[in-house]
């Protein structure tokens, strides 16, 4: 189990999910911004849930944000553990 934890590239996963979260948030806000401007011209109101794909964008944004936080935490944990492992090895070798 410990081996698997160390083998999984949490940093890469955090990077990927971070990038996706970044674009998805921009997508959610961008769509809202554009529709708000368009709708304002005709006295209508825009929300971030006007269409199915906006809802989908929002769901994915939340999902990847959670994955990002999770993988980043695991990446940091892995780094800390690696550091501890290295110190123990050094102490042992002394």
């Amino acid at each position: 189990m410990r081996n698997i934890f160390h083998k999984i590239p949490w940093g890469i996963l955090a990077g990927i999910s971070g990038i996706l979260t970044f674009y998805l948030i921009i997508g959610v806000y961008g769509a809202y911004f554009v529709f708000a401007q368009v709708n304002a011209q005709t006295g209508q109101i825009a929300t971030i849930f006007d269409s199915w794909w906006q809802i989908l964008l929002f769901i994915f944004a939340v999902l990847f944000a959670v994955i990002f936080v999770l993988t980043l935490t695991l990446f940091i944990l892995k780094k800390i553990m690696n550091k501890k492992g290295a110190i123990t090895y050094e102490e042992k070798s002394k």
């Binding site: 890469i12 990927i16 990038i19 674009y23 368009v38 011209q41 005709t42």
Partner: protein, 1020 residues
């Protein structure tokens, strides 16, 4: 060194970077395609008109101005950027805005209606010490305009306190400060309630400051500032929001009555007056529509002033009126009643769903396909109901007596217990007397004169003389369902400012055409019936009906509530029925026939089992609507009519028009040609389908132009009607109601001109406005954008305003054509009404402004609703039968915001083709990417496209968009800067992506190589 190299060639860094930039590149590439359908909107948001004038002649004279303004001139000036003298149109901005504000202030003062002024409570004398109550005394809380597309910021630093002080009145500072501290938290509110999932629908709350929060300040200071307590009450209105919702903290749950906090303030003011701490109470009504007087009338208020929503000049005008610097000589454009539900139209106003239906297009946010509304009250809208029922009660006819429809009367319906202030009513600080009414007639033109004298010793003022007509209600009318209201306004005039003792003879001219009625059931056209017609001059609608009653009979009826004056009545006897003269349009010479049989349930061929009993004066008791009409949509024909698009009928005669020729004709070459000139055909032969798309399918705040050889300039258009919405620093104009209250057409023409000048100054050629629908009930959310409950007042005011706009070359898309008199379910609601009421009430204002006009208006906006089951924008009877064939309209007709499938967007190209054939010419959106869906290859559609383009080009030709264009001027379509920026970003990100990808590949190679070297060394 190796470590450093390995760090630079980090595989994960370059892989993630490639991913990041790759996604960005994909977004930019896909984004361009996604943005394409919204190109027009993006341009409008960035205020870009992609159609640009280029002058290729060597001796350019750019100062050719077809619509010049008094506040601009062409002159040479030094351009520091270009380092040379340039010849440019320069504006006197200060002069322009000073002029505009003087006009709007005049409209505001003349549009203020003094409803009550006991013991000359107003005007306030100089040095008066007053206390101002109400959250609306602060600019952030005062309703300057309504909301929605008619919203506009006040754009002024005026405060009521400062304006009053400026006029010599002392204001209670202690109370003012107490209010000021908490006022920001008490602005009127508008919020979404999502009825049946409708994302846009709104309701309002008053949010008055509770009395206990200012009570201690009142107690501390009121004795010193008790000359008058001025209390301002505000009510909002908005696009997407009627005011007939249940307002829980209001009397009767009615938003247009007082709410608990307001009642509390008035109770306390009453108590302070009883204690002698304040001498008088002045109530100011700042409302988007008519408030009801059930509660207000119970308080000892000395003066009531209805000021509506006055825009930028609101406070300065109010201060002038309160202090007598200006005379409030407005008259009501609507009947003010004790209970707004006493209008029969309210029974069928709101949310109604077909009782049974099948196979309708599915309901969406912008398509309420299962909703309907029936105008069961017929022509009995506003005073036409109250005055007609009153006359029939007094004369004992038509089963008018009874408690049906009674809302405020104790027992049976009594006029004086239902109507607080009649239509046309209004006081002035001056008093007037009228004398010497004369009427002369020449070939059907009636000239009515009367002398008005200011009998006041002190005050100058203006008086309004209103001319009403009563038509005979005959057996023929009863038989054919024609209704004749007891009185109908047919004309009016306002005096100049008369000094005390000064007289003026004024004149009102009307055409015999006003004597006609629409007979849908019998002759199927306008008819002039034999009988006695009564013309009367009166100060309001109730005085008019009393004049006529007293001229006709001597009555002792207990219902007769006032003496009339028969001296101001003139009887015209028409000896013979004439069913032919007015059956021909005097504008076009075309025959006038029924166009709205499909909107009248009783005449609609696909109505199935549906039936409507319209309100009729032949039998009030048995025709008064006690409950809403129930309609089912189960008939196959009716279901088919509700679908998005109807099959296009084949025609063997139809031939494809010529497209794409080059006859060397530019739009400017037609400047002085008639609409029917053959040169138009040469111009239109040059059209390409892409240009037709630009001219017709681009109306997203920029109307499309056409490049060489047609050279049509296009231009920027925007909301209205309260001002150029979103334009920084621009003026908020008085609402249409305030304009109508003035009863002053020359002043409103001035306002139209001033507004037009500002539009030119800010670079706009068109306005989505003004509004000309009818105040069918007090609850219409957009009543503030429409003039009146009366079509003649609305029509004459609209005509005056449009005339001013036209003189400045502004295309006014007068809205909403037609029967869009409520906001609930406005997207696609099926609206049923009989043809007499459609023509005599709802179309008439538009007709006045379009037919036989001195200054041609070239724009119109069709409404969201259906007329019967057909969308207004695809109703051929409306857009071609009436508008073009009867009224001779030559301008362009724009849709309201094209957001729903039934309007021919979202891929519904058959619906779009139907609308083009019906006479629709521009879509308020950018639908170019969708296009005509191949229907442009159908000769019938192609001919309609060509015709629509002609109307749109004609509108541009008669607009300020042509300023600066002369023979030789070319129109080119530029690429907007944001598209260039997008392309540059695509290239830049593309290069970065390739670079990061290269680094990623290199890092894999380097790391692999280094791994191999390490393992090689280890193996050694």
């Amino acid at each position: 060194m190796k470590k450093k190299v390995n760090k630079i060639f980090s595989r994960s860094f370059w892989s993630l970077s490639t991913m990041f930039t790759g996604i960005l590149l994909a977004i930019l590439l896909v984004g361009e395609q996604v943005a394409k359908p919204y190109e027009g909107w993006i341009n409008s948001f960035l205020n870009i008109n992609p159609f640009v004038q280029v002058d290729d002649s060597s001796n350019a004279t750019p100062d050719v101005m077809y619509y010049p303004s008094d506040f601009s001139q062409w002159r040479w000036h030094w351009d520091e950027e270009e380092n040379k003298y340039v010849y440019e149109r320069r504006w006197n901005e200060e002069g322009l805005y000073s002029y505009i504000r003087s006009v709007t202030k005049n409209v505001d003062t003349e549009g203020s209606v003094l409803l009550k002024n006991e013991s000359n409570a107003l005007p306030l004398t100089e040095g008066s010490k007053v206390s101002i109550f109400g959250t609306a005394q602060f600019p952030s809380n005062y309703v300057v305009t309504g909301q929605g597309s008619g919203a506009h910021a006040a754009n002024t630093n005026d405060t009521l306190r400062a304006c009053l002080i400026n006029n010599g009145v002392e204001v209670n500072e202690n109370l003012y400060n107490a209010y000021e501290r908490i006022a920001p938290s008490y602005a009127p509110k508008m919020f979404n309630t999502f009825p049946e999932g409708d994302l846009n629908y709104v309701e309002f709350s008053v949010n008055e400051i509770p009395y206990d929060k200012i009570e201690s300040s009142v107690n501390d200071s009121i004795s010193e500032y008790g000359d008058a307590a001025i209390y301002i009450i505000s009510r909002l209105g908005s696009e997407n929001g009627d005011t007939n919702f249940s307002a829980s903290n209001h009397v009767d749950n009615n938003y247009l009555d007082l709410n608990n906090e307001e009642v509390n303030v008035l109770n306390n003011l009453k108590s302070l007056k009883e204690q002698g701490k304040i001498k008088k109470i002045v109530l100011v009504l700042n409302s988007c529509s008519s408030m009801q007087f059930k509660t207000i009338s119970q308080y000892p208020i000395d003066a009531i002033l209805s000021v509506g929503t006055g825009g930028t000049s609101s406070y300065s005008a109010l201060a002038d009126v309160l202090t007598g610097k200006a005379d409030p000589n407005g008259h009501l454009a609507d009947t003010y009643v004790y209970d707004n539900y006493s209008a029969p139209a309210t029974v069928n106003t709101g949310n109604f769903t077909y009782t049974s239906s099948s196979n309708l297009p599915s309901t969406e946010t912008y398509a309420h396909n299962d909703k309907y509304v029936v105008y069961q009250e017929g022509v009995y809208v506003g005073y036409r109901y109250y005055e007609t029922r009153y006359e029939d009660m007094v004369l004992g006819q038509g089963n008018a007596v009874g408690d049906f429809g009674s809302k405020n009367s104790t027992g049976e319906w009594i006029y004086s217990q239902e109507v607080a202030y009649p239509f046309g009513y209004g006081l002035s600080y001056a008093d007037f007397s009228w004398s010497g009414m004369t009427v002369s007639e020449n070939k059907g033109i009636y000239n009515v004169r009367v002398t008005v004298e200011n009998t006041s010793d002190t005050y100058s003022g203006k008086d309004v003389v209103q001319l009403y007509l009563q038509k005979p209600y005959s057996e023929y009318d009863v038989e054919h369902g024609i209704e004749k209201p007891a009185v109908e306004l047919v004309g009016f005039a306002k005096t100049k400012l008369l000094e005390p003792g000064e007289k003026q003879t004024i004149e009102i001219i009307i055409n015999e055409k006003e004597f006609t009625s629409y007979d849908a059931d019998g002759a199927g056209t306008y008819i002039l019936e034999k009988g006695d017609y009564y013309l009367t001059l009166a100060s309001d609608s109730h005085a008019a009906v009393n004049n006529i009653i007293d001229a006709k009979v001597s009555t002792n009826s207990k219902y007769d509530d006032a003496d009339g004056n028969p001296d101001f009545v003139y009887k015209v006897n028409i000896k013979n029925d004439d069913f032919t003269t007015y059956s021909i349009s005097e504008t076009t010479g075309n025959k006038i026939t029924n166009q709205f049989d499909n909107a009248d349930i009783n005449r609609y061929e696909n109505a199935g089992n549906n039936k409507v009993t319209y309100l009729s004066r032949k039998d009030w008791l048995n025709t008064y609507p006690n409950e809403p009409v129930s309609i089912e949509c189960t008939n196959e024909g009716m279901i088919q009519d509700m679908q998005y698009g109807q099959e296009i009928e084949e025609s063997e005669d139809a031939v494809m028009p010529t497209f794409g020729a080059d006859n060397g004709i530019s739009l400017i070459d037609l400047m002085y040609e008639d609409f029917d000139s053959p040169k138009w055909d040469l111009l239109l032969d040059q059209l390409t389908i892409d240009e037709a798309k630009s001219l017709m399918l681009l109306g997203a705040n920029v109307i499309g132009g056409a490049t060489s050889p047609i050279n049509a300039p296009g231009g920027n258009v925007h909301d209205g009607p309260a001002g150029i919405r979103d334009a920084e620093g621009s003026v908020a104009y008085p609402s249409q109601i305030v304009m109508a209250n003035t009863f002053n057409t020359s002043l409103i023409k001035q306002l139209g001109e001033a507004f037009g000048m500002e539009m030119q100054y800010l670079g706009y050629i068109g306005l989505y406005g003004p509004g000309a629908n009818i105040h069918r009930t007090a609850f219409g959310g957009r009543n503030f954008e429409y003039f009146s409950e009366d079509p003649v007042l609305a029509g004459l005011m609209l005509k005056a305003e449009l005339s001013g706009f036209s003189d400045m070359g502004i295309i006014t898309y007068t809205k909403h054509f037609v029967l869009n008199d409520q906001e609930r379910n406005r997207y696609g609601v099926a609206t049923f009404a009989n043809e007499q009421s459609i023509r005599e009430i709802y179309l008439k204002a538009f007709q006045y402004a379009i037919e036989n006009q001195e200054s041609e208006t070239v724009g119109l906006m069709t409404s969201f609703n259906r007329i019967g089951c057909t969308w207004a924008g695809a109703h051929k009877g409306l857009l071609t039968g009436v508008l073009r064939d009867e009224w001779g309209f030559k301008g362009s007709t724009m849709t309201d915001a094209a957001v729903a499938g039934y309007m021919g967007v979202n891929g519904n190209t058959l619906a779009l083709a139907n609308a083009v054939i019906a006479g629709q010419t521009i879509w308020l959106s950018d639908v170019r990417t969708q296009g005509f869906g191949g229907y442009e290859n159908n000769p019938i559609v192609a001919q309609a496209i060509r015709k629509a383009c002609k109307y749109n080009l004609y509108a541009q030709l008669r607009s300020s968009a042509m300023n600066g264009i002369k023979s030789g001027t070319k129109i080119i379509e530029i690429t907007p800067w944001w598209k260039d920026a997008l392309h540059i970003a695509q290239i830049a990100v593309g290069i970065i992506t390739i670079a990061t990808l290269g680094m990623a590949i290199a890092s894999f190679i380097v790391v692999e190589k280094s791994k191999r070297e390490i393992s090689h060394e280890e193996s050694k």
